[in-house]
Amino acid sequence: MATLKELATTQAEKFVGGHTSCAGCGYPNIFRLTLAAIKDPVVVVGATGCCEVNTSIFPYTSWKAPFLHNAFENSAATCSGVEAAYYSMVKSGKLAANNTRFIAFGGDGGTYDIGLQSLSGALERGHDMLYICYDNGAYMNTGIQRSGATPRYANTTTAPVGKVVPGKMQKKKDLAKIMVGHNVPYVAQTIAGNWKDLTNKVEKATAIRGPKFIVVLAACPLGWQTKTQDTVRLTQLAVESCFWPLYEVENGKYKLNDNPEAKGKKIPVADWLKMQGRFKHLFKPGGEKLLAEIQAEVDKDWNDLKALCEFHSKQE
């Protein structure tokens, strides 16, 4: 797996600055690192959203790899078409094989919600592509509306904190688990704030033929109401609180990539939540019960994940 120096020096950058994302935005890091980690020719297909809008305002582009945007809910289907075209034209001799890697991405809205069917179909069909979801937990591009990825009790503009409602009342979907249900060779969960874990997973995924999926937690200072300088730390704390464990699932086998608990570094989820303005109502009088509820949910999920990983490690 590549060192940071190797990532920075092996090839010219394929995702460059000059784009219009906000200061402290989490996703540019993901795509810069992802493209640095892939040595082969790569085609990127992006869903409508912050990343697409900020990186491809005509006549400018941040993409030094071929980049295709079609619509919001169909980056997986569109990418599957690019991949099918490549294999078809290589097979018929119209194109020389060059080991092109295919990457589709979407935000959490474009992946957990409106693009889920397109993604599910593409994974089931077995296309040789890597789908990356940058998950900042709401429709940030349109102004912080709740999505299926918004955590419970977060404040958003369509599930606002009011006098009687404490924000979003539903739990976040477990997207990685849904993807595992597709029996694909590789599924992983990571963060924008851990370059090594992220690039390791991208390298691993691109070495595998078939459909791969990585969901990456990325902070949005605007939507999370956080300080721009905390962006990297915030996703690291999401891991340390066990709200967002780093793990991967290879051929159905779960494996933890980091265990803050075993290292004695597990922090209460409240420590992570209190840095974010979207949860500030939980720290007012009366919020204790809601915080306890979130902690119980995180603990249960963490214990379930540990048990699964332990079960699979014993099988080997």
């Binding site: 790569v42 295709l68 945007h69 169909n74 569109t78 078409g81 690019v82 075209a85 397109s118 069909r125």
Partner: protein, 400 residues
Amino acid sequence: MPVKTEVKQLVAAKTGNEAMAEAMRQIDPDVVAAYPITPATEIAQIFSSFVADGQVNTEMVTVESEHSALSACVGSAAAGARAMTATAAQGLMLMAEIMPIAAALRLPIVMPEVNRAISGPINIHCDHSDTMFCRDAGWIQIFSENTQEAYDNVLQAVRIAEHAKVRLPALVTTDGFIISHAMETIKILPDDEAKAFIGAYKANYSVLDAAHPITVGSIDLQNYYFEHRLPMINALKEAKAVIKQVGREFGEKYGRPYDLLEKYRMDDAETAIVCLGSTAGTAKDVVDALRDEGQKAGLLKIRVFRPFPVEDIAAVLAGLKAVAVLDRSDSLNGYGGPVFTEVCSALFNSIQKPKIVNYIYGLGGRDIDLHMLKSVYDRLASIKDGQDLGTIVDYLGARK
């Protein structure tokens, strides 16, 4: 004007769906992405068997929806591939979001489409409400009168869509069940002839060109969007001459010439019906019978609805006395059908123009027969003779 042709064509009995699938086999697209929907299902189904038997090199992408079918085609075409899909009705409506994107990206995707009424209520039979719903999506729309035309049109659509001056996606429609499932004897080009006619495809750009990375599908704000729509608008205008040229060449080579319109016994006609698709075949019989009686009746079949042949239609109809436009869908605009309103607008600036009435007919597969069409010509004859226009928009074959 059938001409002598040297090319020996195969005579075979085919349904409309079989004929379109046969054309697709000869085209041998790089990618076909499709999803089942009555009455178009068979096209992809038959084509799948060509894939399974190794008769084509196509990569078949059996998607989970029509939205993904067209999305995958956009991906394939943006990768420089020849891509096709097929659908009908709700499937076309589900593709509707992606249709203008395919056109704006100038991707010459060709789609056989079987006309079927849109829901609701749900109905699987023929009318043109699906195709008309997507009429302003930047796609070329070619309507087929019968199975032979369905086959010929699919081949021509590839040439038209991929033409350097056009580079737009194209729909080739048949009428659901009436053509899609009815067997007729047709002539099929030899494979090598069909391949030679459509020629090799060289895309304008490809996202697979790693040496020359491009960004496709940028966000285009106030300062560029307008200028980026204009070339597409102009390409639709240019497409008219290309469609005529390709239709003429097809006629010269294979004895079946095509144009934007088909004029049937129109030379000295005083009255005419204007229609699209399979109804034209029935109307021709009625015209023949009326001509035998000495009436100067004719038929104008609009083969290409998009781009709309506004100049040609005006030229043909301006000198007539009375015209009935038959619409197999209603615009739901509180007035009449889409073909009617566009035909009227084509004639608006003509100094001389006929009286025009509109009939909405055949919704949801309701039969249209010789007697109904005869009654329309009878009314046109009385309008020609000075009777009041009366009801401008009427509903033919609906119980009142």
